[in-house]
């Protein structure tokens, strides 16, 4: 058996989001086990451990599971990720943090054990700006962009990138923090009403998203000029605002809806047999899909690792190799039953973050669906690469790591 612990959170302030993610993650592995008998003949065990989005509990979960043969961790929390980064280096476990965590972990030379493909926050910021550039015929100069962010490590992540991009493209950035949990945002949105930015970006999580979208509707901010990061792009986020949320956009790096062949398999093997995590209530939601996508990538890395190692029963080191040589092509995705579900991924020793491609989805309030409105777009690596290099070097220095050579 192969062990892939699921450090989930189904309670606490972010429990509603965490639940859906964890369900998607579980269900995909259940599907593999049920349909294919695991990967390469090895059943995948997904022991779940509740972290409540709390770093101490996260660490406890990690320690409790790490000696059970765990291969890879995906804690869905930037805070817990920061705790685990130094630990996985010592314990030799893979840490996979798609779309969250420490951005500069993209640099595989410094962060040997950490992977954050297909995209990270800086990619997200850059893709959003790129989208806006396109909307504006390639010119953002003189425009005002506000960033409404969760006042935490997570929310602060994009600021540096956006500042660089502002300098490059000549727009004006105004960062507005919202104290967690973000139940009350009147003054922030009145500021936005006063400053009249052309666009608003949002790095939010939990209730903050819902309130922000509602407040934006209240001040009649045009929803189509309001773009959230992928963590601010789920059905729960737009729900309370009702019709007011129509037209709201968000980034995503995975497909939405249930129009994928894989869901047929999922239905036959998991849903209908009653094996779905939590009764399958959330199947097909945006966050569920993202959890499932994380499982897909991990499963693919396991396959690759088995292939390279020549054995089905791999260890974390071999899985790491698998990740570093991971390639998920368009064809492969289609084969899995998820055509065009995610960007192509090709990782290497030095690149642990993939291409960083993401796309934009838009909420249709009457149909209650997310629609994909752009193709996968590449970030502006010209800006990002130096930032990543600088940040990872700083970390290497602080932690006393000598970056390894990659060839």
């Amino acid at each position: 058996d192969l062990v892939v612990p699921n450090l989930s959170y189904r309670t606490g302030p972010y429990g509603a989001n965490g639940t859906q993610y964890a369900d998607g993650f579980n269900d995909y592995f259940t599907l593999l086990n049920e349909r294919d008998g695991g990967i390469g003949g090895e059943i995948i065990q997904v022991p779940e451990c509740e972290t409540a989005y709390n770093t101490e509990k996260g660490v406890e979960c990690y320690e409790a599971t790490k000696d059970t043969g765990a291969l890879v961790y995906n804690p869905l929390s930037t805070g817990i990720t920061y705790q685990l980064i130094p630990k996985v280096g010592v314990d030799k476990k893979v840490l996979y943090t798609p779309g969250y965590g420490r951005t500069s972990a993209k640099n595989g030379k410094v962060f040997e054990w950490v992977f954050n493909a297909p995209a990270n926050y800086w990619d997200g910021a850059s893709v959003a700006i790129k989208y806006l550039l396109e909307e504006n015929g390639g010119d953002l100069s003189g425009k005002k962009i506000a960033l409404v962010y969760h006042n935490s490590a997570y929310g602060k992540e994009p600021i540096r990138t956006l500042e660089e991009l502002a300098a490059k493209h000549g727009f004006e950035l105004n960062a507005i923090p919202v104290e967690a949990p973000g139940q009350e945002q009147k003054s922030q949105w009145l500021q936005i009403r006063r400053d009249k930015p052309d666009y608003v970006l949002m790095w939010g999580w939990g209730v903050m998203n819902q309130v922000a979208i509602q407040e934006a509707a209240n001040i009649r901010f045009p929803m189509e000029n309001f773009i959230g990061i992928w963590w601010a792009g789920s059905e729960i986020d737009v729900g309370p605002a009702g019709a007011g949320a129509d037209g709201y956009k968000s980034l995503t790096f995975n497909g939405v809806g249930m129009d994928y062949p894989l869901y047929d398999d999922l239905k036959t093997h998991v849903l209908d047999t009653g094996k779905a995590s939590q009764g399958g209530e959330h199947v097909g939601s945006a966050v569920y899909s993202r959890g499932m996508y994380a499982a897909v990538v991990i499963a693919e890395a396991i396959r690759k690792a088995q292939e390279l190692a020549g054995t089905a029963q791999i260890n974390p080191e071999q899985l790491r190799e698998g990740f570093e040589n991971l390639e998920i092509s368009t064809e492969r995705l289609a084969e899995i039953g998820l055509p065009d579900f995610g960007p192509e991924i090709a990782l290497s020793c030095s690149n642990h973050g993939g291409s960083g491609m993401a796309r934009i989805q838009q909420w249709d309030a009457s149909a209650k669906t997310w629609n994909l409105i752009t193709e996968f777009t590449e970030p502006d690596n010209e800006v990002l690469d130096p930032l990543i290099a600088a940040d990872s070097e700083a970390y290497a220095k602080e932690a006393g790591i000598t970056p390894r050579e990659c060839n």
């Binding site: 429990g15 919202v178 949990p181 009350e184 009147k186 500021q191 939990g206 009649r220 309370p240 009764g279």
Partner: protein, 328 residues
């Protein structure tokens, strides 16, 4: 220049409305504190629990579905009916009374005469319990609450102000409703506490449990009554906040916004809760709006407390709180 003025006025107006929303939560605290000297930390959770129950009843959710499913392998979730809002509110109020009864029976009764801090801790324990119970009963999903309260910007106010001042004020209709309801609640509660026999008994209980017992006031009755009222106030707060941001865990954290309100208004004063709410609402909004951007923003959490603290240094019992009797 004029614009700045209007913005300030708008922030002020919105601050007042927010303050009312805070006050709604603070009111529940005040009631219980007045009646039992208990600093009821669970008030926020009570609001969450009330809102969860309301939504659950309204949408015909099966309580404890998840637990039953886990135990028996079933996959229940809804009864398949929906309950009209008014009826659901009435039923929820009933649940809150039952809850008050249970709390008295299982917790308070056994803690008669204990020090305030012990009672305070007990309410935190209660908060944990209710938080877990709410989740187990109704699930941890985010739920949308709609009891038919209007939401969104009031067009008539915007129109009217635009006509008068050339600047349309944005006021949320939900906030207007909250203000009206809060005003009614406060008036009713003040009258109750000050001029009725039960109100007097309630204040007597707060002063001295034993003496209250000795003159024949039934602590149980008073407590069940007060907790029921507080449960009802929590329900109102839960409806308002739940309509605004969906019913979910963070709703319980509004208790933390009510605390500075309470401190400023005085723990024992019902009007204080409103006045405190207004001052805090306006203060934190204006500060965040004008000073916030200079210091990096997100000041609201601490500013409310610091503001209250400054008031307290001059009036240690809050604006309207009862004088702290110091005698030897």
């Amino acid at each position: 220049m004029m614009d700045q003025f209007f913005f300030a006025a708008e922030v002020l107006a919105n601050g007042l409305m927010t303050g009312v929303m805070y006050a709604l939560v603070a009111l529940g605290f005040v009631l219980i504190f007045k009646a039992s000297g208990v600093f009821n930390y669970a008030q926020g959770v009570l609001a969450l629990f009330a809102a969860l129950t309301l939504v659950g009843i309204q949408q015909g959710q099966i309580p404890f579905a998840h637990l039953i499913n886990a135990a028996f392998g079933t996959s229940l979730h809804h009864f398949g009916w929906t309950v009209p809002a008014v009826l659901a509110i009435a039923l929820t109020a009933g649940v809150m009374v039952a809850l008050a009864f249970l709390i008295e029976k299982l917790v308070l009764q056994h803690l008669v005469g204990q020090e305030p801090i012990i009672l305070f801790m007990a309410t935190i324990g209660l908060a944990y319990f209710l938080e877990g119970l709410g989740d187990v009963m109704w699930g941890a999903d985010i739920k949308t609450l709609d009891v038919g309260l209007p939401q969104g910007i009031s067009d008539s106010i915007e129109g009217a102000t635009a006509e008068w001042f050339g600047y349309g004020f944005f006021i949320d209709r939900l906030d207007i409703w909250a203000t009206v309801i809060a005003a009614l609640l406060v008036a009713a509660l003040v009258a109750f506490a000050q001029y009725t026999k039960q109100g007097r008994a309630m204040r007597a209980v707060a002063d001295d449990h034993q003496a209250a017992l000795s003159v024949g006031i039934s602590l149980r009755f008073i407590w069940v009554m007060v907790w029921s009222i507080a449960g009802f106030v929590a329900l109102v707060a839960g409806i308002m906040w739940g309509t605004k941001s969906g019913v979910q865990f963070s709703l319980s954290l509004i208790a933390l916004k009510a605390l500075p309100v309470l401190m400023l208004g005085g723990f024992t004063s019902i009007p204080g809760a409103i006045v405190g709410g207004l001052i805090i609402g306006v203060g934190e909004k204006l500060f965040e709006f004008f000073i916030g951007p200079m210091v990096g923003g997100a000041t609201e959490n601490w500013f409310a407390y610091v503001l209250a603290l400054i008031f307290l240094v001059f009036r240690p019992q809050g604006l309207f709180g009862e004088r702290i009797i110091e005698r030897v």
